[in-house]
Amino acid sequence: MKKASLFMLLGMMLLPVLFVWGGGQPPAEEGPVTITIYRGGITIDPETDPVVLELEKRLNVDLKFVTAPWSENRQKVNLILSTGDDVDIVTTVDNIPKWQSEGAIIALDEYIGEGSHPYIYKITNSTTFTPLKIEGKAWAIPQVPLGVAWGTMVRQDWLDELGMDPPQDEEQLYKALKGFKEMDPSGQTTGFQFEGDRQIRRTTIPIMSIFGVPSSFWDQHVNFDIRGGKLTHICTMDKTKAALKYMNRLYNEGLINHDFPSMNSFPQLTEKYIMTGKAGMGWVINPFTSQAARLKEIDPGSEVSLLQPFSAKGYEFRRAQGMMVQIYAVVTSKSKNPAKAIECLEYFQSLAGRRLLVAGVEGVHWSSFSAEGIFERNEARWEQDYGKQLYHPLNFYLGQGNCEGYVPAKDYATFEEAYANAVPFVPASKKDEANVRLEYKEGAKWFGDPNPVQFVLFPEHNDLENAVIDAIVIGWTKCIAAKPGEFENTWEDHQAELKRVGLDRWTALYQDYYDKNIK
């Protein structure tokens, strides 16, 4: 017994030693270079996936993937960049100035040429993204979605039942929502589904727009109304007050879900309200035709249509502003083959690369592509390989984010022009069902005015930025959820708080930048 336990102990203590000794370097091989890419939520098997194998063949690389579940995506990205892991390309990164100052990523300029890397060159030098340059160099490739496939969905079947037309002003909107609520005797139905917390910025877009406030999908703290060269932050505008007051009225009558302040996940929200038939309207950020299809499976009588823009009485409709991108692809400073990595990234954006990543392997999954981006899919083979998925899973964020198409950077002088002429890919069989093109056109009615200062950052003023963001989120939530009769006071408090945290200073920073660089 004695000896046995002693040996066991020694054995256990030797284990770590074995591991330190073990693991040498494999002998250096000739042949394809290994490129390791981080991308969240990978569900395919890279060893056997036809698209990956084809990519490796065309690029003459050995592709390895590091991944994490989407819910842990940000943490994993931070970890990889913080610890200098053996990864060449990292996608879905944000806060580029931070990683640049930490020395975790490399500058791309010396590797890209306009002829050899048309997409990367154009996008990093475009006027929209010039503010992203640090020390005059480009450090990251923005991942832009093809277009804007959102809008406000409304239950057309409910409108029909109420005998109402789609609302043309805020009073009609109110009546419609009230009608929706009263249709449900249990009282559980609300009218408009709302997201809260920091997502309040995008949920409020429909209402803000009809009151003429240039709101945005991303950061409210960089939302300014620019007239005659003067910047006014939207939080101080009277129109914003009118919009919030209207929302407060809706809230107090139960026409906005009461739990919105703690609802910060769009999928959860949609699952809870729209999919269960407990909300008649909502700002949807996914291709809504797919959601509508799902809703139809659940409730065959449902009909979903998109709200057309209108204005509140006495106001002028204003689209939400900005470009929907806040994530980037970077090449790490630990990469041993940066040139090859960048070559891969460029290929992912090329026409051949996009077709591969979105539609699959030519001759296997599809046979022909029309100029408008409609392709003939081999349905049997696709279903066998990828089940019911519309597009290849690697498409997301490996290349353009949410982009099911191609931006023809080679054919246009500037990135903005190319982007405006982007070609969405749609399988012929789904041409009408997932009417991606229609969605983008409809969505563009609500979103897409340019915001010249969207990508301007001031890393030295992080604390100010945090304080401003907090003040906006808290202020708007409180205004919308104000008890009856309390709105005016709450608004005044909100204005006072904005002053206290320094919104004036914040606006001045952007005004300065605007005067110097844009005017």
Binding site: T43, S71, L79, T83, S265, E271, N286, K388, F396
Partner: protein
Amino acid sequence: MTAFDVFNYTLLILFALTTLYPLWNILVISISTDQAYYSDWYHIVPKSFTLRPYLHNFKEIRVVRALLVSIFITVTGTAVTMTVTSMAAFFLSKSYLRLRNLVFILFIITMFFDGGLIPLYILVQKLHLRNTLFSLFLPTLMSMYFLILMKNYFTEMPVSIEESARIDGANDFVILFRIVLPSAKPILFTISLFYAVQFWNDWFNALLYLTDRKLYPLSFYLREVISSAITEEVAAVVDVGAPATIQASAIIITVLPIILVYPFIQKHFVKGILLGSTKE
């Protein structure tokens, strides 16, 4: 049955009903069809039955592998840590050991101060433990909390148990493993249960150290499945059915082993009291 008993049973049964609700709710959701799920608000009475959410979790053969990985790290991790922890607790319970207090303070300091994620990650990297199964239980092997609970238990045990064995010439290893531990069944099973639950549920180590998906433990694998079912961009184009049902089935899968194992441990809790109370 006294009045107190009636009160006690009523109170506890009511309380148990409230604590039953969440898991019951989740169970009902996990066997609901999409239609039934969306039309029901409270999910108390099952309105449908389908095993589709469970099948979605099991549709890949990888899940079997993930299950085996989880079983391996739970069993191995618990076995290793219980050995190490009980030896350490035994040591710490002997007040005549001169270095004991020093060692103890070394342990306690780590309860409050640790270097954070980055140094640990670099260390694991340098030890070449990254992407191995060992990285899933070695870095978080011991819990000071459980160690102290165990040490306290040993301190409370009467010395007489050991004395007769010592007089017979047995060394400390024999005493610990042959005599002390068998008499310490309640604490042994309790701490083992706590550790086992920890290892079974942990996914953070997998997130940090694993790049090879083949090594994913079940907890992490399920997290991936759920994540892809509810991510905005993915959910729009992939038809998985109501994400909540998949999430619910994943929770049930994770909790089920613990509920099944627990009764075997319960046996050892009842012993002490039952003997003294049968003469009511």
